[in-house]
Assembly symmetry: C2
Homo-oligomer: 281 residues x 2
DNA sequence: AATTGAGTTCCAAATAATAGAACAGTTGCA
DNA sequence: TGCAACTGTTCTATTATTTGGAACTCAATT
């Protein structure tokens, strides 16, 4: 299990995250000092506000002096920052790293025109996401109206089990790999419709047959989506594209109408990948 | 000197960066193991393409075994990724960290409506940037046309000496602090108009009197801008807002017309900060 | 078959991180 | 005011990780 698998889990679930990480059957990550620092960076950047030293210390499960030095190093490198009240925040240097990661991501570049086309066709919000560990990371987003907020969502990591893209992505993986991933997940009930391990595995089977997945307000109340998977031949890249919208307008019936277009889009993106990325260079 | 000061320097200048870091009169950063790992992360994410192990090894100035383990750790944590050809790329986990850093940045949130208003008024592209070390990190961007590319630019770190926002920001710092910063910069000649240490210091004096700064194609040929500084009382936050455009349309004469509006905007943002961020909470 | 190049693994020695306590500065409260 | 609790910082012997260098594997070339 990798730490990144936790990315996007709600702050509330920290205890569970931490203990699960320790008890993981896959054994502890062996990233030495870096791993310990990343736990702190994760903690602070996923909190929903600035954290005081004591708050961090309380969940860090390490001696005071140690936590203090670790935080100092992170701050000195610009990965964290301290506000006027001495509280810790994610640092802006992270933005620079990320903009470069995003700017030259080939998958995103290849998919871009097809996402735009799908947005034009449907008028609804279109997302592109990729599977990383047990999370979906959103790589791009095209909205109908004026740019309500650029950046919003993009980069966010969401749990695989309660997003359309996530479930679509799982559906193209071999069954044993899905089961291995599901075993790593700490399920958290976001809404009344959020999956459990069992119901998720059952739905994956359905999606395998259908070729597309739905999100029936499983992550956020009032938000639905339909998604289709995207995968490379050797499964080194697994992700998906989705059409998202408010439940009052995009109910299941309406969403189903987009099944054909969204699957065409995912097909075109996969075709473009085979050309663009090539089998070998 | 902090490593983040180098963010945004061109890849070509690596040798200079590395040696300058070592020889820095301010002494070495003391971030232990983390610092060494960040050098590699910086290296890979600022390269203009995927890097092979050997390429990294060549510039890393460390033994093979060491570099190999360091890269492995970074990959295992998701900060770097390896493509099918075994080359190293910035990892997508960085996106998640960044989106959270960006999403709750107070400065950006406070400035947003005023940037939008300036964009509406001028029809030109508006940027918001903040000073970090000897770089300007762009926090937000509003474009005239349809969202040509969201995310683009946002997060990018550019050298302080060849951007309008950078020079505007420097102009509000006390003279000795400017000189200290300038002493740390490894100047790189991007265009024929790019500043040297001397010409930069001279222009800062001008900007101090004027209250606004220009970029006369100093970073990129064909791109000009006018910028006004934004600063908090205790200078814990120093940045600026700019109007950017192509030189053929936005020459110096045309840019000068925006001097009043852009200074009004920066003024309004500073006012909003005093209310929003408050003197104390 | 021999050579070069790229990447990986190993282990004693060097170095950095750790744990724990002591210290200092603030705040709250009687 | 004085005392206690809280918050953050600093110090040092001990411990664990990182380091550096070499040896090793695997492919591609000659």
């Amino acid at each position: 299990m990798e730490l990144s698998d936790y990315v996007g889990a709600p702050v509330k679930a920290f205890g569970a995250m931490m203990s699960a990480a320790k008890e993981s059957a896959h054994g502890k990550r062996d990233t030495g000092t870096l791993g310990k620092l990343m736990v702190l960076l994760d903690l602070v950047s996923h909190a929903d506000g600035p954290m005081r030293f004591t708050d961090i210390l309380a969940v860090a499960d390490q001696p005071r002096g140690t936590v203090h030095r670790q935080l100092s190093h992170l701050v000195e490198e610009g990965l964290l920052e301290i506000d006027e009240d001495g509280r810790y925040l994610p640092g802006l240097r992270l933005l620079d790293f990320a903009s470069r990661s995003w700017g030259r991501n080939e998958f995103r570049l290849v998919a871009e025109p097809h996402l735009k086309a799908l947005q034009d066709l449907t008028g609804e919000t279109v997302h592109l996401g990729v599977l990383r560990g047990t999370s979906i990371i959103y790589l791009d987003k095209f909205e109908g109206q004026q740019p309500v907020r650029m950046y919003s969502q993009i980069g966010n990591a969401s749990p695989v089990y309660c997003t359309g893209v996530g479930k679509a992505a799982l559906s193209v993986l071999p069954r044993e790999r899905v089961e291995a991933l599901v075993a790593e997940i700490a399920f958290h009930r976001f809404t009344a419709n959020t999956h459990t391990a069992e119901s998720l595995l059952a739905e994956i089977e359905e999606i395998r047959k259908q070729g597309h997945a739905f999100d029936r307000e499983e992550h956020e109340v009032g938000i639905c989506c339909i998604a289709a998977p995207i995968w490379s031949e050797n499964l080194s890249l697994v992700g998906g594209v989705s059409i998202t919208g408010p439940a009052y307008r995009l109910g299941m019936e309406n969403l189903s109408e987009w099944a054909a277009p969204i699957r065409e889009t995912s097909g075109r993106i996969m075709e473009a990948m085979r050309i663009g990325l090539g089998p070998r260079r």
